[in-house]
């Protein structure tokens, strides 16, 4: 490394700062070798149509192509596939959210080659069937992710349907990993993962019996995407999340939902409706006491019907202060509650009116004037709330970044206090979106885990994917910069 530094210093002094700076800055736009993050690029995910077609055409006409379906029910569950051309290595593909809102966001196909799993089932197929699987994977690169419909197991189902292999599905209703796992295990040729480390594979021994993978073949852990570990995949995860957070639910909400069947209608905005091809989705939630015992597309006899905008639902999930976001959403009409009992409806209307009066008289504590700054507490933790310009900042003093929030306290993105200062002193007229990022710096990636642990993994995976995409096309990789020969900085994805 020292030699590199010395070489760079000589290079730098001889050629002059400006020239070297230009060269360095443009190194990132040179066609890079087909590697990113230590892995070879994938023509299925990263190639353009021509590259993909070339890859497909070069696949052997005959031989044993293999498609495997995997279910993971450890913690946040997941369903994914692994495929292998004749003589090739298995490559795993999974689908997940590429944003904060698990109820409606951009989807992303991630590398699940080393993802943990509980059960799998494999099929040998011909080239045509294999190519159909590849095409489905490519199609799903641009799908919208919704927990309630197009989730991780729905992707597995789509591959199964497209290829026509007789594989098990993720169950009736909303696809879910638990059902996929159960259905896989029902098949005679399924394989159960008996490894201690569930990311390891099972291999056949000389007698044809499935045994844990020997340690020398262990390729696990290193490249496991955080997406797969952290994102919500199905209503099962949502159920677990709600039950874990039940202690934080205020008494007034608890009494409303106790032993009730709730039908939540998730309403899309106009742009989302055009993409989704429907106005809304529903989730039926059954409470026993205050614990969720079931979430599916609907419930038989709903006691309460809740209509809510998808962004409002996401905001409630993401914020550190969900009651403020909930009350403001209710006051604004973004959340509407209808009870099966008329008397309850009158009470709800009265409470709604009082809530709105309260919201008008005493607005959210996060609605502050430009230039104002004050100390606040959320859950007994001190924060600094400020509004240096257009944006409202919520900063935990111990962190190097600030969360950009709206006046309901719902996070919008992240920035650094320095960035906010730069906008303030700039004479160029920045727009409100300026300087707000979902994922500013690697340090922030690590620290920005919110209470539901949704964004970190998604963003890492997305950026890694972007990096590979740009590199594949021989263009600037936004994540890969060679900094003067001194080091290799891979901004995102690490």
């Amino acid at each position: 490394m020292q030699q590199f530094i010395n070489m760079f210093e000589v290079f730098y002094l001889r050629l002059g700062k400006t020239t070297v700076s230009i060269l360095i800055a443009f190194l990132m736009v040179l066609p890079a070798p087909a590697m990113a993050g230590g892995k070879y690029l994938d023509p299925v995910l990263d190639g353009n149509d021509e590259e993909f077609n070339n890859y497909v055409n070069n696949l052997p006409q005959s031989g044993e192509y293999e498609i495997c379906i995997y279910a993971d029910t450890e913690g946040i569950g997941h369903g994914f596939i692994k495929i292998r051309p004749p003589g090739g290595e298995f490559k795993g593909y999974g689908f997940g959210p590429n944003g904060w809102n698990p109820f409606y966001t951009d989807g992303i196909i991630v590398d699940d080659t080393d993802h943990v799993w509980n059960s799998k089932i494999c099929y040998f197929v011909n080239k045509d069937t294999y190519v159909k699987a590849l095409q489905t994977i490519r199609e799903w690169r641009n799908k919208t992710y919704t927990l309630q419909q197009t989730n991780c197991v729905a992707f597995v189902n789509a591959v199964v349907n497209a290829t026509g292999i007789p594989a098990p599905s993720g169950g009736l209703g909303i696809p879910r990993p638990g059902a996929l796992d159960e259905n896989i295990r029902l098949r005679n040729n399924s394989v159960k993962n008996t490894n201690t480390d569930k990311s390891k594979e099972m291999v056949k021994d000389s007698s044809g019996k499935w045994v844990p993978e020997p340690p020398e073949n262990d390729s696990s852990q290193a490249n496991q995407t955080a997406l797969s570990k952290n994102s919500l995949c199905s209503p099962d995860d949502l159920q677990e999340t709600i039950n874990q957070q039940v202690g934080a639910i205020p008494a007034e909400i608890k009494s409303m939902i106790e032993n009730k069947q709730v039908l939540l209608t998730i309403e899309y905005d106009q742009a989302q409706q055009q993409v989704a091809g429907r106005r809304s989705d529903t989730l039926g939630i059954v409470f026993q006491g205050t614990q969720v015992t079931k979430i599916d597309q609907t419930v038989d006899n709903p006691d309460i019907m809740v209509y809510a905008k998808v962004r409002t639902i996401s905001d409630i999930f993401m914020t550190k202060d969900p009651m403020v976001t909930y009350r403001m959403g209710l006051a604004r009409g973004d959340i509407r509650i209808v009870h099966s009992s008329t008397a309850q409806n009158i009470l709800i209307s009265g409470a709604g009116l009082l809530n709105k009066v309260g919201a008008l008289i005493s607005p959210s504590q996060y609605l502050i004037k430009t230039g104002e700054q004050r100390d606040i507490e959320i859950g007994r933790k001190p924060y600094v709330l400020s509004r240096p310009g257009n944006i409202i900042l919520l900063q935990d003093k111990t962190q190097p970044y600030a969360t950009v929030i709206n006046s309901d306290g719902a996070p919008q993105g992240y920035t650094t206090p320095g960035t906010a200062q730069v906008i303030k002193i700039s004479s160029k007229g920045h727009s409100p979106n300026s300087g707000v990022y979902m994922n500013p710096i690697p340090a922030i990636q690590r620290l920005a885990l919110n209470r539901f642990s949704i964004p970190y993994g998604n963003l890492v995976a997305r950026q890694a994917s972007q990096a590979t995409q740009y590199t594949m096309q021989g263009r600037a990789s936004n994540a890969k910069l060679i900094l003067g020969g001194v080091g290799f900085a891979y901004g995102y994805g690490r």
């Binding site: 990132m28 300087g435 710096i441």
Partner: protein, 152 residues
């Protein structure tokens, strides 16, 4: 006359005073409900993060330039950045040029404001994105690229 008076008196007796008060009370409640429903509850600070901003920011962040506001609109890419102590303004500028020229649907102009650690303006420059792209494809050389940079 007497009968008419009696009818009027009887009519008045038909709606007791307490009922009128109650009706008035409900009318006021209803009116208040309608009025309150019509008053919007303020919501400020909603932001739609532009992934193109983040794409350019990632190039800067990877070089430890973390105090940087990226603002991509239809007209221009505007970058206001504070340079860390170990990097010169020229390098920041070229990283921005390179990254901004690669975003999806790039606007025609890149404007870069570079500030020092004390937030004093070092330089403001702009360049056409097509010029940067020409440099990247080898259609123009470094000299021409440098000449195309306008310092404001």
């Amino acid at each position: 006359m007497t009968a008419e008076t009696n009818t009027q008196a009887g009519g008045k007796k038909g709606i007791p005073k307490w009922a009128k008060i109650l009706a008035g009370f409900f009318a006021i409640i209803l009116l208040a409900f309608i009025v309150v429903s019509l008053i919007p509850v303020p919501l400020e600070g909603n932001i739609n993060v532009d992934p193109r901003n983040e794409q350019i920011y990632s190039a800067l962040a990877a070089n430890n330039i973390t105090d940087a506001a990226i603002d991509v609109t239809t007209d221009r890419v505007l970058v206001s950045a504070t340079v860390p102590g170990d990097i010169d303004a020229t390098k920041v500028k070229y990283i921005v040029f390179g990254a901004a020229s690669q975003i999806r649907n790039p606007p025609p102009i890149i404007i870069v404001e570079v500030f020092d650690q004390d937030r004093k303006l070092i330089e403001t420059s702009n360049i056409g994105i097509s010029t940067v792209q020409k440099y990247l494809t080898g259609d123009i050389g470094l000299d021409e690229l440098e000449k195309s940079i306008k310092r404001v």
